[in-house]
């Protein structure tokens, strides 16, 4: 996984609450095993009925085309568990989403891929969004995971919280599987206990065969 230490970039405001993964990464009509995640991101929202770009969609505006950070509302990433809703962000160079809150599965998918999910307290979120809207892509913000601070024009640094384990995983780009395998002894002993307590799960098989 690509580590995340710090990112400096333009912040695009996409402030609607409950943005769902069907909107973020719609199921494409012509699917292949090697999807074009870059094109997938907000594929429908970016376009008008005739298929041309919708100039009013935030990521189509010239100042936000290369945005590396999204400012989002409540419950970002609701709905389907599809991980393409994270991969399509990364394919477009988006490394951080600062939201009022995230849907559970989406936040987990972010952490699995080195996309930093930042949740701000309500007052901090209000202040940050006001600054993002005011600066309108003219100046970048820096999101630093080491110091857990957001800095940029229009005000003082904003501190954010993130769980210590999540932070370490992101900073070091640690492979989750490798981390878990360090606990293999505990896993094996748990499995042995579980097999004793619920042998019908361990021995499950098709009784007709």
């Amino acid at each position: 996984m690509q580590p995340f230490v710090s990112h400096t970039g333009v912040v695009a405001p996409l402030l609607k609450d409950d943005m769902n993964t069907d909107q973020i990464a719609p199921i494409m009509h012509s699917r292949t095993l090697k999807e074009d995640y870059k094109a997938m991101l907000f594929h429908r929202a970016r376009r008008l009925d005739d298929g041309s770009e919708d100039p009013s969609f935030v990521l189509n505006k010239p100042q936000f085309r290369a945005a590396g950070i999204l400012a989002a509302g409540h419950n970002f990433g609701a709905g389907s568990s599809r991980e393409s809703a994270v991969w399509s962000m990364l394919a477009n160079g988006i490394r951080v989403i600062v939201a009022r809150s995230f849907a559970d599965i989406y936040r987990e998918n972010c952490l699995q891929n080195g996309l930093l999910p930042v949740v701000l307290a309500p007052q901090d979120a209000d202040a940050f969004i006001a600054r993002v809207v005011a600066v309108n892509g003219d100046a970048p913000f820096t999101i630093d995971l080491v110091t857990q601070r957001i800095s940029g024009s229009g005000g003082a640094d904003i501190a954010f919280e993130i769980g210590a384990a999540d932070r370490t995983r992101l900073l070091e780009g640690l492979d989750d599987i490798g981390l878990t395998l360090k606990h293999m002894d505990e896993i094996v002993s748990w499995e042995q206990r579980a097999a004793k307590a619920q042998p019908w799960l361990q021995d499950a098989s098709d009784g007709r065969r």
Partner: protein
């Protein structure tokens, strides 16, 4: 399980849905290489994974279950603890046999009272999502309890747990009871003989203690609940079947912008009554509502009637087993005689991943779980409802109160 990408047309094969062919074949090859049993497109027990797993007794009370699909907690209906997950998490599970999780908070949703005629778990779940909001269950594992849940057959409990993610909850379940055990006994993968008795002894310990503490308790009195239907573009935008699209002033200020956007997408003015709205399409199926009792309820409404002129109506059973059982009971004839399409099992129009989609601008009453913009096809306007409401709507050609239709007053 091959479910999202499979065609539902009779006589289907790998190529019937061309956009699914590559997936279907890659899945087959991956399973072969790794010695994983696959329920392939032509397997007699193929279906939607959330329908098939409990149906075959693969998932059991007290088991932990993870699926790379957000509706994983459907199987909470038999008392399993299930987690929807992403692709990377699935790879992690396959590599390590475990999942790394933050312990969820605990919520108990107590559903009191007795459901009225033609009202079922779908209506209860939609009302609960309306009350708690689409993020009300975020961070929680939800236990569904109370008299209304106890009285629900297992299939309805699965409908209830299926919709848990629509209020943001990753895991939802019902503590197993005698009805659960009776439902599971004799299923192919369930333990048998002495092992069954041993399992039963363990499962009986899984009920929640009387003095158990929860981080949040919510209650809903279901006694006077009428059939529910969504009017908007998220599953919390719900009214009773006799209700109207809300006035903006009646919507919580934080939800007003979402409501305004939903009015526009759905082509509905505030104050419009839901009942009576003409529809183009009706879909009965998906992991939410495609089990045998769902089809029986719909068939009872449809029997001896015809789908209204101009309405495309589809029934897609949740599994090949459900399809066979429905056919043995003659339900396929009931639906076909009425003018419904009777499909092969799969996810179909729920997410449209198999090419089953509506046309732009169509209004569709659907027994699925998400009424998101463009989900059932570009610009398709989805109204979520129960199988009974969907069936009544197909007959009336308009959104219908099943109780009135059956009483001959609609």
């Amino acid at each position: 399980m091959q479910d999202h990408t499979v065609a539902t047309k009779p006589g289907r094969n790998d190529d019937t849905n061309p956009s699914g062919t590559a997936f279907i074949r890659a899945m087959r090859e991956g399973c072969r290489q790794n010695g994983i049993r696959l329920f392939d497109i032509d397997d007699r027990e193929q279906g939607i994974s959330h329908v098939v797993a409990p149906e075959l007794g693969i998932v059991l009370p007290g088991a932990t279950h993870a699926v790379p699909d957000s509706h994983a907690s459907t199987v909470g209906g038999v008392g399993a603890l299930a987690f929807g997950c992403g692709t990377s998490e699935l790879a992690h599970i396959l590599a390590t046999q475990v999942m790394a999780l933050k312990r969820p908070k605990r919520m108990r949703a107590r559903l009191d009272g007795r459901l009225g005629a033609h009202v079922n778990a779908k209506d209860v779940a939609l009302r609960l999502i309306a009350e708690l909001g689409v993020a009300g269950g975020r961070g929680y594992a939800v236990e569904y309890a109370g008299a209304a849940v106890r009285a629900m057959p297992i299939e309805q409990r699965m409908t209830l747990c299926n919709l848990n993610i629509e209020m943001g909850g990753r895991s939802g379940f019902v503590a197993p009871d005698d009805a659960t055990f009776a439902w599971l006994e004799g299923r192919p993968f369930a333990p048998a003989a002495a092992m069954w008795d041993r399992a039963l002894g363990y499962w009986r310990t899984l009920a929640t203690d009387d003095d158990a503490a929860f981080d949040r308790e919510v209650t809903l009195d279901c006694t006077a609940l009428e059939p529910q239907i969504t009017w908007g573009t998220d599953p919390s935008q719900v009214v009773g079947i006799s209700g109207r699209v809300p006035e903006p002033g009646a919507v919580d200020p934080s939800r007003r912008a979402a409501a305004e956007s939903a009015f526009a997408y759905m082509g509905l003015a505030p104050g419009t009554p839901l009942a009576g709205l003409p529809v183009d399409r009706v879909f009965i199926g998906s992991c939410t509502n495609s089990r045998l009792p769902d089809l029986e309820v719909a068939a009872a409404v449809v029997r001896g009637r015809r789908v209204a002129e101009g309405v495309v109506a589809l029934v897609v059973p949740g599994s090949s087993s459900v399809k066979r059982e429905a056919e043995a009971a003659g339900l396929d004839r009931v639906f076909r005689d009425a003018g419904f399409f009777w499909g092969e099992s799969g996810c179909s129009m729920c997410a449209g991943g198999n090419g089953d989609r509506g046309q732009p601008g169509e209004r569709c009453v659907s027994t699925t779980n998400r009424n998101f913009e463009n989900r059932q096809g570009l610009k398709v306007r989805t109204h979520l409802a129960s199988p009974a409401t969907a069936a009544a709507t197909a007959i009336a050609g308009r959104i219908a109160d099943v109780r009135r239709l059956l009483a001959g007053v609609a």
